[in-house]
Amino acid sequence: MVVISDIIVQGVQMLLVLLLAPLLTGYVRKIKARLVRRQGPSVFQPYRDLLRLMRKEVVLADNASWLFRVTPYITFAAIWVAAALVPTFATGLLFNWTADLIAIVALLGSARFFLALAGMDVGTSFGGIGSSREVMIAALAEPAMLLIVFCLALVAGSTQLSTVAHFLASTYVGLRVSLGMALVALFMVAIAENARIPVDNPATHLELTMVHEAMILEYSGRHLAMIELGAFLKLLLYVSLIACVFFPWQIALYGSGALSYTIGTGAYIVKLALAGFLLALFETATAKMRVFRVPQFLGAALMLGLLGTLLLFVSRSF
């Protein structure tokens, strides 16, 4: 019985993130449009985009290899697995012990590794510029992310995300300097990893300003749909990560009843809405920075993560 309910929770989680991810992006776009007094497309536009892309034929460059064609699926699968391991409405996911937070970071790294390779596959300058900038950003974002993981692991005594969330939700932790630093750093990393303003602009096709979009410029049709869905999932993953670790309120603890699962789901959707609103507000209020300012931005995240970890090494009570 317990196993069956565990499987159901895990399955619901996987479907939930898949279904909610485009909505979150659509919602952020809508809010951004409203903030600049535009009407903006419907929040369901990303679903329509995905459906339209899937119906279109794929236009493949002449010398694209098999790697180019399998990358969308590998990328999507790696991000989906990672997203399925981040607690959204409930802790104690069935496969929680399969991979911890470090492995989730590495799964996202795998997705990026293949995307960057695919960017170089066709042999145009655009793919190359996107890939090379993407790996530069990742080379700084990943260590920052790992230091945040260290921070959380030292506070909660575990790198298992469900355990961390359970610990932070059920124990009085209080306000901690290190956690504050980790939160700011995680926010900065999330901005960079999801190719949002001010690091990258997801809505541009201007060669000098784009990073992520340049890398996937050659993709079309169903392949592009998979990559887009992966990108939506990644944004949702980071929002869920911030929510479950720093704002674990009302998250259903392992083994609690159906009612608390319902409350957890409701709370999760409220958190998503709030986070989406804040993200849209932040993006509207800032301008995109030059590519070579990004290292300073991420360097700050790295330093915050390092400082937070250092404080915890010095004393567990910071």
Partner: protein, 671 residues
């Protein structure tokens, strides 16, 4: 026959093969005979080592040969640590021999490689087996010289002579350091047997000196920054299967020497020693991968990446030393096992990648990545296995590189319990450096793979390349399979390493075989666990699900067309991103500090149709700051001393007389 005797017979076989190779050298069948026989002998030695490690043979077997110093003899011993490193050596040897069966046929001068190849393997085996300082040093020097001969195999190619020269100087220097270290360890009584050294007490002063000397001796062979300068010159200069042995295996023999002396012979490590090792290891990891990122020669890139991996192993060993000094047995076992596991993993994927580079070299005759490209169409199998190697070395799940780095991160997370403030402050920074190195490694191998195998061919060589022979492919596929197996079943490897950890740090990680679903759990299940098998199953399942749904419900239409180029549809392949341009952002971020990198752009004035030129200036600060002054000083002194060569006999005699008197005076005053 005891286990150690079996190994010695294999070594004798390898030495015999070296002799046979000299006799056969000019015959046509020599390549096949020698590599085939080396493969067989290595496989026997590998089986023997595996049996003694997996059989849980914690009790060592010894063997004494009546050669060497008259009063000492030559001692050889097979314990758990030696068994593990014999596995690394002989697995590398077997795969390199298999690869050589095909690759060796392309060698223009096989007689320059064949005799030294089995001799080199024999040397490495002997170093690991040696049980007294004298035989250890002798075998070490034999290994160095055999590998030097292999580096010089293609001595007419530009740069190889310099590589051989620098290697010889550094190797002699390293052996000198080791000689002094063993002298100190043997103490005033001068007993060179390892058993006597292990039993003796070492003063802290001697222990510090031994640490420095071991870092110089074993560290220079392993490629620790700043003693790494010879490595990127020498490793790529050798034929590719030998490069694989030197990078994937010989650096491990150096690490073995370090472990043997610092953990086994020296006794309990101290925490300041661990701080030094941690510092050097983390610098090595980051510097190595930054150098690799800037490199456009494929084999040199791989050699620099070896430096990075050696740094990672040393970080892990440093952690093990720190934990052991503080009496944290479990954490020490974790860090030590992680180091060994990374040693094993690196020998898998680095050999694989060097084989891949050799395949590219065979197919195109080109090592410069910026002249390659598009090989994925011409060499489908090679490009597939090299991709596996690149993913594995970039520490991405579900492959093996990730597991060992994950274990090291888990060890870092154990270190707040350390008692010393210096270490408490240092370890987070080391963790950050390690994470940086891992992220840069991924960037570096995106570059290496993307520029070499993807895109459009940049030159005629890449356009007409063909797939390599079956033996080479078999060797690469076996290693790629091992990378995956060690990644999805890490628990088995960790359990197999338990006897080594027990022998060296006196404790072991919890048994992993009993964990449900083959997860690995370094400390306790609540703290952290990872399951490579399930990660792979999940990724495969979700990817298949996605493929199924897409192909069931989405449009399956597909049209080939020219790549979209913003109106410049027929740009030449030279307009693609090259390795140099790919590295530009990272060069700008890190290079200005680490290499004093500058990009000089010369633009012709408007109206001039001359080409614009980009010149990149990189400085190897280690070379210019450390080695160039030493070389200058040596040059200066030798010019001065040169005068002594042209004295009259009268002056020579008075010089000898003066020296004698001075020495006698010193002796008189001293005693």
């Amino acid at each position: 026959m005891s286990a150690v005797a079996l190994q010695m017979v294999c070594v004798a076989g390898l030495l015999g093969l070296a002799m046979l190779a000299i006799a056969l050298s000019r015959s046509k069948t020599a390549t096949a005979v020698i590599y085939g026989a080396t493969l067989a002998v290595s496989a026997i030695a590998l089986t023997g080592a595996l049996r003694s490690l997996l059989g849980g043979a914690t009790d060592a077997t010894t063997l004494t040969l009546p050669v060497g110093l008259p009063w000492l003899g030559a001692h050889f011993r097979l314990d758990a640590l030696a068994s593990f490193f014999l596995i690394v050596v002989n697995l590398g040897g077997a795969s390199a021999s298999l690869y050589g069966l095909g690759y060796g046929h392309h060698d223009p001068a096989p007689h320059r490689v064949l005799p030294f190849f089995p001799a080199f393997l024999a040397g490495m085996n002997l170093v690991v087996l040696a049980d007294d300082a004298f035989s250890y040093l002798l075998c070490w020097e034999f290994m160095s010289l055999a590998s030097w001969a292999l580096v010089m195999a293609h001595h007419r190619e530009p740069g190889n002579a310099k590589a051989g020269y620098v290697y010889l100087v550094m190797a002699s220097f390293g052996t000198l350091a080791l000689l002094l270290a063993f002298g100190l360890l043997a103490g005033p009584a001068g007993d060179y047997g390892f058993a006597a050294i292990r039993a003796a007490q070492h003063t802290p002063y001697a222990a510090t000196l031994v640490l420095i000397l071991m870092l110089l001796g074993a560290g220079s062979k392993a490629g620790l920054v700043p003693l790494h300068v010879w490595l990127p010159l020498a490793h790529p200069a050798a034929p590719s299967h030998v490069s694989a042995l030197m990078s994937g295996v010989m650096t491990k023999v150096a690490i073995y020497g370090f472990i043997r002396v610092m953990f086994d012979l020296q006794g309990q490590p101290t925490w300041p020693a661990s701080a030094v090792v941690l510092f050097l290891g983390s610098i090595t990891a980051v510097m190595g991968i930054l150098y690799a990122m800037m490199e456009k020669d494929l084999k040199r890139l791989l050699a620099y990446s070896t430096i990075e991996n050696v740094g990672i192993v040393f970080v892990s060993l440093g952690l093990a030393m720190a934990f052991e000094a503080n009496g944290m047995k479990l954490a020490a076992a974790l860090a030590f096992t992680a180091a060994l596991f990374h040693v094993l993993n690196h020998s898998f994927f680095k050999s694989l990648l060097f084989f891949g580079a050799g395949a590219v070299l065979t197919a195109t005759g080109e090592r410069d990545m910026d002249k390659l490209g598009g090989l994925i169409h011409r060499m489908p199998f090679t490009s597939f296995v090299v991709l596996v190697g690149c993913v594995a070395i970039s520490a991405l799940p579900p492959f093996n590189g990730f597991v060992s780095e994950w274990l090291i991160f888990q060890a870092v997370l154990q270190s707040p319990e350390l008692a010393q403030w210096a270490l408490k402050i240092m370890v987070p920074a080391v963790g950050a450096m390690l994470a940086l190195a891992a992220a840069l490694a991924a960037a570096c191998f995106v570059k290496a793979y993307g520029v070499t195998f993807l895109g459009r061919p940049r030159g005629p060589a890449a356009k007409t390349a063909g797939e390599v022979d079956r033996f080479s492919l078999a060797a690469m596929f076996i290693l790629a399979a091992l990378c995956l197996l060690a990644g999805i079943l890490p628990g088995l490897a960790i359990d197999a390493l338990a006897p080594v950890a027990t022998q060296i740090v006196g404790s072991r990680m919890p048994a992993q075989a009993s964990q449900p679903w083959l997860s690995i759990v370094p400390i306790a299940e609540g703290r952290s666990s990872y399951n490579g098998l399930l990660v792979m199953v999940f990724i495969t399942a979700t990817a298949s699900l996605a493929v199924y749904f897409i192909h069931r419900f989405a449009s399956r239409a597909l049209r080939r067309g020219p790549a979209w180029g913003c109106g410049f549809s027929d740009a030449t392949p030279a307009a693609q991103y090259s390795g140099v341009s790919f590295a530009q952002p990272i060069r700008r971020v890190f290079g200005t500090l680490v290499f004093h990198a500058r990009d000089h752009v010369t633009m012709p004035p408007p109206g001039d149709i001359g080409p614009a030129r980009l010149r990149i200036e990189l400085h190897d600060l280690v070379w210019s700051g450390m080695y160039a002054p030493i070389a200058d000083a040596v040059g200066f002194l030798s010019t001065r001393l040169n005068r002594l060569q042209f004295l009259t006999i009268r002056r020579y005699l008075s010089l000898v007389f003066a020296t004698l008197v001075t020495l006698l005076l010193v002796l008189a005053i001293w005693s």
